[in-house]
């Protein structure tokens, strides 16, 4: 199945060995990303959304273990041979992180850093590298790109730094860009620009994985959405369907928590009472059940499987057992 997937994750788990024993961060994740599509992976702090991709790319912190399969363009990244992963990482498969200052070297000019990406891999010669640098800076909407090449990271504004980091990721013309909370540290106005930049890259054929907690950002760019809670995917759906009618109670609660400009003012924002389970805790039932407004008795006892309902998949007993289930 899913032969057209560029990136395909099957039964992926990530855990960490800690002094208190093994703590599982991500469990039984399967997902895929097709060429030219944007998949948003949404979840709150600690849901495992970042560890999932760090695991796929072999970038886990010390003590991290990954199991399962992650295939990029047919090549297994998590096999015993690290060759395919090394070949893909940073070349055909690029990442952008939340804090652009960490992605940029403070004492090198933007031009030098951009060129280095392709020079070190022997992909281009110096003259072509400069031309490519200007091209990617333009494609991310950087004002006055020629001048930027001579500047250092500290001379750029926050939004420009994030554009420079995205430009760096685009230097090798990757097929897949994994962006982990790329707009979280930015002002709303700058955030809107960065989303624009990602949307432009997606429209030119780049596959994008956007990891975020912000449903508003998701709506601006995602084609499909996977919602994570306590290390598992609880719902995946095409973005329009998900926003029009969230099926999982957690998705619905997350959407209702976002303060909006266009809804009547209520006395309270919806919010979600309570706390997610502690890291590593593995309740018998659904992890969301203790906070769930529609929890049934069975939700506390058995974990709902992720089941397909047309284009969407949902892991929820209440949805599964509802009369006339289905979108």
């Amino acid at each position: 199945m899913a032969s057209d997937a560029l990136f395909e994750v099957r039964d992926l788990g990530v855990c960490f060995t800690t002094p208190r024993g093994r703590v599982s961060a991500v469990r039984e994740i399967s997902l895929e990303v097709r060429r030219g599509e944007c998949l948003a992976v949404v979840g709150e702090s600690g849901s495992g959304k970042s560890q999932l991709f760090l695991g796929c790319l072999g970038l886990l912190a010390a003590g991290g273990l990954v199991e399962g399969s992650a295939r990029f363009d047919g090549q297994e990244l998590l096999g015993p041979d690290a060759g395919p992963r090394r070949a893909a990482l940073g070349t055909r498969l690029a990442m952008v992180f939340q804090d652009p200052m960490n992605a940029l070297t403070p004492h090198l000019t933007i031009g030098r850093q951009l060129a280095e990406v392709v020079l070190e891999r022997g992909l281009l010669d110096a003259a072509t590298a400069r031309a490519r640098s200007l091209e990617v800076l333009r494609s991310v909407g950087m004002p006055d790109p020629e001048a930027r090449l001579r500047q250092y990271p500290h001379e750029l504004s926050g939004g420009q730094r994030q554009r420079a980091a995205i430009a760096m990721a685009l230097m090798t013309r990757p097929d897949l860009l994994v962006a982990d909370e790329p707009t979280t540290a930015l002002d709303v106005t700058v955030q809107a620009q960065v989303i624009d930049v990602l949307r432009g890259a997606r429209d030119r054929g780049l596959a994008v994985v956007l990891i975020t907690h912000d449903m508003g950002v998701v709506a601006g760019i995602a084609d499909r959405v996977a919602v994570m809670y306590a290390g598992r995917i609880v719902e995946t759906a095409p973005a329009r369907e998900l926003f029009a009618a969230p099926a999982h109670p957690y998705t619905a609660a997350l959407l209702a928590s976002v303060p909006r400009l266009d809804t009547p003012l209520a006395a309270r924002l919806a919010g979600i009472e309570g706390q997610p389970p502690a890291p590593g805790a593995e309740p018998d039932g659904c992890a969301f059940a203790p906070r769930c407004p529609s929890a049934l008795e069975t939700c506390h006892r058995s974990r709902p499987p992720l089941e397909s309902l047309g284009a969407r998949s949902v892991a929820c007993h209440a949805v599964r057992l509802a009369p006339g289930a289905g979108p």
């Binding site: 106005t189 709506a219 303060p259 309270r268 009472e273």
Partner: protein
């Protein structure tokens, strides 16, 4: 709110704060950065004023000046009719009991070596002097309960709690002396949305229950809309628009306010299809250091010759809605 003769808690007049910048060369005058530029504002008892703007617009500096943590170069700050001066220790002590602040980073604003119960007790004793241990314990517990924390958590340390719980503890610490005004400097910006909603609800509840006034600093207009009675929009240190929240959200009259509103991410994919906002496209080239005329003019789609020459004054455009724009109320032609 019932109309009992309301007291003005905070009155800021012509407040200007400048910081010295490094000299560009060995000789020549030292350049100054004007972080807050001739700002007027006031907050009545029980009211909530939202102060919005992007990073670097001066909103945190303004809050620090109000708390007398930085000295203004010009202007006055009055707390309940009394001038606030950094060299008046007794006056500051009086004011600080009634005026408290909560910061953005909930974990970083609590002492990592103190349990949250100790942190709250410390704030209480700093304001009211040494207390009887049993009475302190009771006040701390009831304060924690009021912000939605189980008093059993009093013995926990910040690193053992979630970001939302730490922010509740920081709010408890700020409120334990029963202040009249709480300054929230991006107090919900670092939180997950579901937790953000909890904290916004908590602040709304505390307003109702305690008659607490808020100076709520945020870059997220949607949050401000849910919590505030009045809004002031700050751009490069100046108030460019000020009005009731209802008026601002129903009809923003400054082009910058409109750009901020357009940038709030809407959790509805359909909304993004029509969201090709010309004002945001213009925002890219916003880095000019010194701007002649209106500070927003380089980003503004409405800017003309007048805007490039003259700084617009903050003027009433109807029913107390103040706007500093030569083209207040003119909307760019919709595409």
């Amino acid at each position: 709110m019932s109309e009992v003769a309301t007291e003005t808690l905070l009155r800021v007049r012509n407040l200007t704060v400048r910081f010295p910048m490094p000299r560009p060369g060995l000789v020549g005058p030292r350049p100054w950065l004007t972080a807050v530029d001739a700002v007027d504002l006031e907050i009545d008892a029980g009211r909530a004023l939202g102060l919005v703007g992007e990073s670097g617009c001066g909103k945190s500096t303004l809050a620090r000046a109000v708390l007398a943590l930085v000295s203004p170069q010009a202007g006055t700050i009055e707390w309940r009719g009394q001038p606030v001066r950094r060299d008046d220790a007794a006056g500051l002590r009086r004011m600080r009991r009634e005026l408290q602040i909560v910061f953005q980073d909930p974990v970083g604003s609590l002492d990592p070596r103190m349990s949250i119960g100790e942190s709250v007790a410390e704030a209480l004793e700093a304001l009211e002097g040494p207390q009887d241990a049993v009475a302190t314990r009771a006040r701390v517990d009831s304060m924690l309960a009021e912000v939605g924390l189980d008093p059993a958590l009093a013995a926990r340390y910040p690193h053992e709690l979630s970001g939302g719980q730490c922010q509740r503890a920081a709010i408890a610490r700020a409120l334990v002396g029963r202040p009249k005004l709480l300054v929230c400097d991006e107090a919900v910006s670092a939180l997950d949305v579901s937790v953000q909603a909890q904290i916004v609800n908590l602040l709304a509840e505390l307003r109702r229950r305690r008659g607490l006034a808020l100076l709520f600093i945020s870059h997220n207009l949607a949050v401000v809309r849910h919590l505030c009675d009045d809004v002031a929009v700050l751009y490069r240190g100046r108030v460019v628009e000020r009005a009731s929240a209802a008026a601002i959200f129903a009809g923003p009259s400054h082009p910058y306010t409109r750009a901020l509103l357009a940038a709030v991410p809407d959790p509805d994919p359909a909304a993004h299809v029509r969201a090709a906002v010309p004002e945001l496209r213009a925002a890219a080239a916003a880095e000019a250091v010194a701007v002649v005329g209106c500070a927003y003019q380089p980003r503004c789609p409405l800017a003309d010759e007048l805007c490039r020459q003259q700084v617009p004054r903050l003027e009433d455009v109807g029913a107390g809605h103040l706007t500093a724009c030569h083209h207040a109320g003119v909307r760019p032609a919709a595409s």
